[in-house]
Amino acid sequence: MRLKIWGCRGSVATPGAETTKYGGNTSCVEVMLDGDDTAIVLDAGTGIRALGLDLIGRGTRQIRLFLTHLHLDHLEGLRFFAPIWDEKVSLEIWGPRSPVVSLRDRILRSFSPPLFPLDFRDVPARITFHDLPGEPWLGEGVSLHSDLVLHPGPTVGFRLESGSSSIAYLPDHEPALAGIDAASPDWLSAGALARGADFVLHDAQYSEAEYPAKIGWGHSSVAHAVEFSRAVGAHRLVLFHHEPVHSDRELEELEERARELTEDGVSPPLLAREGMVLEVI
């Protein structure tokens, strides 16, 4: 199982000279499985635009898109995802249900004036909608589990398993709001999703100095990401959902801080960057 990161910026896309190394596109990750030509995609931030062109080039027509939530930075690329404008494409969209409005109706809001010139009825691809969390989704050699996690509004995290390998994807997550206590793992938001994972892609939007002014906004400091990773016994932390105002240099300072906080004998944390491929065997 391999993951390719097409976008790892948080909140809003940030193109520019200061972000060329780690990228400015918002969240999108592709899950690649040997021998399976169905595309599995996590989130539809602006990173999905380039992925869409790549999928067209590969001739992929079966796509499964799993959305952690519907904040714009995880949805804004969908309208520019080239495969949806191809009538031969079949797209399944999975996302968290809301207590009030269906997943379909919430997504369709972004496909209507004045937010967008075209209506969802104009989209030629066959699109179906499915609520999360639910029973694990089982694909060819992979399973995907979801559960609600701590972030404002209905939000899920994902755990992908293939054989004995596992990856947790928690791009928007503030577990510190309810406490990160390794002694009470059943009370830890996303604890079961991330337990013992080979890679945990986790929200690390803020520095420790920035976090106190942003408590309750739904994101983590680098220190909390490290603490969460330690609490769940993850093998390697990947720092994700980079704060828009952080330049490449500032991100590297945060990576260095995360490594300082990680004890000896544990693989050092990595900064997610566009184009990065993570492989688990």
């Binding site: 609600l148 996690v149 701590l150 709001l177 059943d186 604890g191 337990r195 013992g196």
Partner: protein, 131 residues
């Protein structure tokens, strides 16, 4: 994914909320098990939650001999927690309990069901005050 208990997110949030309150508050899950009470409740019941641990809420409440101010025993089905649990609606009552220190205390109890979605009952929250 390995089988592992994971509390429902609403309960995780409720526990964080209750932990920050100075009002005695307890939580039970969808099985009817007491899963948490806060420090303020510890002061009233006379025992720390860490000593109690998870247990059926009815068993835990019964140990405090809830009764009316006229010393008439209150059957489980008339206690606010059971009403919130069984009938999925808020309930309130005044009654007297005996704490683990042997003291009788008059309390007011309000219980509410917790729904993550309209069709997803995840437990109850019970708040009580010394009357």
């Amino acid at each position: 994914m390995e089988t592992q208990q994971q509390k429902q997110l609403v309960l995780i949030l409720a526990r964080a909320f209750a932990s920050s309150l100075s009002t005695p508050t307890l939580l039970a899950d969808a099985r009817g098990y007491l899963v948490f009470y806060n420090e303020a409740a510890e002061a009233v019941v006379g025992r720390r939650f860490a000593e109690t641990g998870e247990m059926p809420l009815d068993d835990w409440v019964a140990a405090f001999e809830p009764r009316t101010t006229d010393s008439v025993e209150i059957p489980p089905e008339r206690r606010p927690a059971r009403i919130a649990f069984d009938e999925r609606r808020p309930s309130h009552a005044d009654y007297v309990v005996t704490s683990t220190d042997g003291m009788s205390r008059a309390i007011e109890v309000s219980a509410f069901p917790l729904f993550a979605h309209t069709d997803e009952f995840v437990g109850i929250i019970v708040i009580f005050w010394r009357a």
